[in-house]
Symmetry: D4
Subunit: 214 residues, 8 copies
């Protein structure tokens, strides 16, 4: 298990991370939101209560990597986390497919790669570890135009993780395993925002990457 006593673990991302978190992103009364961050916290605290891991959620609905870049100083660096998890890219891709004419809202692959790598570079010296999670799309057909695009973004995340030696979570692979048995609409009508089943899958994939073994 890589997380150590009193480590501060910060998650950043889009609506899949956000899930109605409190403005502060930590504390009582469901402050961690209703998604995988909350499940990760529940699994960590109940399985390793002696570690006292501090979990913080800084996901924001609708965000692309551009938006992370704009709030990186206050929402990541100033928070001084020990561990940082990033899952971004859904909206970078989705806007190309649900708002095709509004091109200024699209974040194409080159910009995505460059900005994400820059964020990793700015941060990696100051933390014990970074976990890069790919974006995903709950569509098993790899020829689907949006799925194919999302796979390119996921590949970019894998490349950056390898280059900078961060931990890596292939969320798409995790969901592909499930989608062999379950039709996408059971997990998410819009193929993007998963039910609790999907959030538990994300949480388990994350925890496996950091060595959770109880």
């Amino acid at each position: 298990m890589r997380l150590e006593q009193r480590d501060k673990l910060l998650f950043i991302g889009d609506s899949i991370t956000d899930c109605e978190r409190s403005p502060d992103g930590e504390g009582l009364f469901g402050a961690l939101g209703k998604g995988y961050v909350s499940v990760v916290d529940g699994l960590l605290q109940s399985a390793y209560p002696e570690l006292g891991i501090r979990v913080v959620n800084k996901g924001t609905s609708g965000n692309t990597v551009r938006d992370l870049d704009a709030r990186w100083q206050t929402d990541v660096l100033d928070q001084k986390p020990d561990w940082l998890s990033i899952m971004i890219g859904t909206n970078d891709v989705w806007r190309q497919f649900d708002l095709p004419y509004k091109t200024e809202s699209h974040v194409y692959l080159d910009e995505y790669k460059a900005k994400l790598e820059e964020l990793v570079v700015r941060t990696k010296e100051g933390v014990k570890g970074i976990v890069l999670m790919t974006p995903f799309y709950l569509e098993p057909n790899k020829s689907d135009a949006m799925r194919a695009t999302m796979d390119l973004y996921g590949e970019a995340v894998r490349t950056i993780a390898a280059k900078h030696g961060t931990l890596f979570v292939d969320t798409q692979a995790e969901f592909d395993r499930i989608l062999e048995h379950i039709y996408p609409a059971t997990i998410a009508w819009d193929r993007v925002h998963p039910s609790m089943v999907g959030h538990v899958a994300l949480a388990r994939a994350f925890l496996k990457a950091v060595g959770f073994d109880r």
Copy 2:
């Protein structure tokens, strides 16, 4: 143009027909809902104001053909329409894919065919005409499991229309034409409930079937 002066035209179906119609289903203040029924009415009244067509919306969200059957007497026969349009089947299929374990909520193909044909038979003598519209799924990949199933239901509608000599609207074909150029998420995040673009497409397909030519 098949509709004649003072004809009463009644639409029945599920949420795609309903679209927040009033309980009565006709009248002032958006009583026809916000979907294709309202667009049909708008096109009819503005293009043929001299005909005075009376449009009534009896769509109900979540309905399957079972639910139509249960309310057929009050919501169709008692209304004494001159023309009747039926578009049903979305939920009959969808529940098999988004609630796979709740089998009592599924309406399989045999039951669907039998019930829909029975409704046509009960009604056709009393009206000037019936329009049967297929259900549809905004997924261009015909190998997708739910799309493939929906196509079977659409085929059943075509068969019943041919057998009983009703008018027929292939809504799936209409959407397939559009989906060659536009990704599904632009029209509907859930691939079921379309934006105004989809409702206009449905309205135009319906009107073409009844001979609208202005």
Copy 3:
């Protein structure tokens, strides 16, 4: 058909254009409002899906030509539309009849003409085309004081269109044709804000002007 692939088409006007549009005036979830702009978009996208026309709605309830003038830079010029449609004048006239004592809220004919022409002049060089739509009043009696005034404003729009070679839509003529068969209260209790029937009529008149032919 005058609109070309990827053209950006911007509508500006008052509450008849606005119809609960989103602040941004484009995007998902009914962002184009519930009026003729949304119907125009629906007809364009469903009939010409290969063109990918981008529609933007910048109507604002209560606006007169004075208000358009005040927000012209940000809401029109900065948007860099290819095509621009303007329908204004209802409130310029209406306030003279429903708030007769509050004279500072009235925009009289001379000011209306001058300001509208100035807006056309400021804009026409930068766009492929402008569509000028007259304001209208759902009152068939041409001797009615407000109808008579509205006709003068409509005449002014026609004059400006002719002088500057813009496209022109006589919405009042369109409604007069319908009002021969339908009493005004069926379409609008206040003779100003039409039901879907009126919005479809406006959309069809607009599209006819730009050469829609499917």
Copy 4:
């Protein structure tokens, strides 16, 4: 002044009478609604405080003479008023013009006359007096189709009043006097539901009929 000490004065009618009255139709906290009934009460109590007139409002939005007939026993006869005021007919006419195709909602002139007269006959023996108020339409153009129809209904009221010797208020004449100077939209956007100005006009016309002279 015809009203005597402790007389109970009951008003019945449609939305113009109703105006958000309480279910009971009398009592504290604006129970008389916000329309002419409340103004009548205010003028009576402030000018003749020594009389202690009891005012009750039994108007109901949307009512036609058919609806009055259906609730006459409980809402009029059981209340044992000393004086009764009836103003009905707006919706009987309006539905013919705003819902022209829904003919079952129309109350045509013959039915209107018959039902109204019957109500007067059932009631007149048990009360000190009845005041019959015409319906009205805030449209000065007597050739307007709905105005012309409303005038026929008003004429019917006048005939019944004369035949049965009730008091009579020509509300249309009262408004015609005002509309010589004020455009209808200043008083009512829909030409039916007046502002406070119209309600005061109605109250004054009513009170003049019962001999108010302070």
Copy 5:
């Protein structure tokens, strides 16, 4: 009748004047509030439609003469009324009796007199006329401590009116006449905010002062 064609008549005061007026204090949709100002307007427009009097309501709940002083420039002088009506003093007195320990909220008689007179002096040259209305308390017992105090404030208003030659309305006398027959709780549970009966009484007293005679 002292008011002349197209005169602008502005009312200022506290919650009894305010009565849920719109921020602007004039216009459509009940902008004049639900109190005596609205009744004055209703009586003026319906009885003298040819005059076209413009009525504006600038009452604000909770105001004392100190608050009027603070907003006099924008809410009175900048409005350029032809006629001005002032009714203030209720809260100046009431706070001495319902918040006796919070002395900084009390406006004692000397300050009241001085401030009110100063407002009259600042304004009278620019208007055709001023109407000074006394504050009132719906308590017939003149020995009651708060009634006795209110009478002193009313006396101050009378003195200022006489000294500066303004019109004067003794609202307390008007209510005393009514309270001979009606117990205060019928008109106002708190003896301050009257029902419609009280507002009609205020309106009639005001109109009598300006010569209303129809």
Copy 6:
């Protein structure tokens, strides 16, 4: 102290007793309401925690003695209280003064006396004790018409208490003592529903009657 361990003490009355109690009238989360019943409970439990007194609130807003009579079996007898406190009469009197014309809502003195005594007779054998509290009016002027009437009702309560040997609380006397120093509007704008100050006064008067001495 007359209350004994585990005694059940039930309060019944009108809005002054009710004060937003829960439907059940006992339990967690402010179920006893915000008035004197809650203060009595607070004083009993904090001063005599060893007694474990069970307090129940069955006050209902708007009630007169007629309403108590109608619900006596379920709300008092079926509850099997050890002690019963009754404070009723405010609305019996008030309606005579705020709704003077609606005479069927008035409960005059004879009926009040008879019904109240009957309730005492039906109950006294089954309980350890009854506390009769007078109604009150926060008006120090004994010549005020409503105060004078309320005093007669209070006198009736005193007579019944003496005749049947119940405990007696003169709430009016308690308030008169306070009103020597504090103007009524400080405690209640409507002279009926007191602030916390009045509720504490009622609670102390009640507790004095049952021998509270800590």
Copy 7:
């Protein structure tokens, strides 16, 4: 792993089970609530997607074993589950401590034992397995009066489980392990309704009992 393909697993209990479930207790949009039932479902579906376990939540806030008894036929037997999980007792005990005087709301140990055993007996023949979960109290001090009582109820569950050969989950032991490191207020201000941490702990304990091993 004891659960088999297409097994239906039903949970019944109080608010800790309920957690805002839908009326139906299964389906889309968070129908399973926000508590341990939802986490169990998430873990089962994501780890064993091929099994297609159907999870149903029939918990109801505030329930005691008495309430389960009253709805056992419709909410358990009629549902025909393959597996049944029962966690009840919190309110049976809590009411003795937070509503000590309202003894009719208390379910004492003898009744609890008898009713719970009877439910197990009525059900066990018709199902593949039953899981009995103890109630718990998030108070580590075993001398605390309510904790001591809760332990007796937990002991009763253990005895019934052993006697009838059901699976058994000692939730109190699970929480005691966590409370060695975390103060109760971190998990639940009221020591009863846990945060997500507690719900994950419950879910893991349940799943361990049924042989979850992925």
Copy 8:
């Protein structure tokens, strides 16, 4: 009785003091909140109406001694109270136990002591008297970790009170007396925010300290 005529008594603290007070913290309509401050006021005004004590509530939910320090000038010194009551420390301690990882939200004992003493020193010259109330925890087990910590903070208050000669209220001792007979959950589910029973206990303890003897 130490409080004298017209004294101004100000309370400051956290949510236990706040209890939904108005922004101003004094005045009509429950401005003092629903807690002990309101009960103190009720007892003072009803028992000593001739004194006219002015009570002000400046409690703010969630406050620690750090927050009091930040608003001391405006909320205490600028108010110029004659008497000041301070009850603070609950949140200073609680955050150490319900948000153990968020250490920047903890106020440890040294800081608490220093800041509280400094506030007393800054204030005591300008007032007639200060009342220091300890924080409390509704947990009778003195070995409980949070109770033990709270006792240290209470001890610090006692020390400061003695050193500076202020009045002192041991609220914990007051509650310990009650908790001998009543289980904590009866008074507060979270052992922090008491029911009316606890607020009355606090009010009585406060009043005893200032010599209330009626």
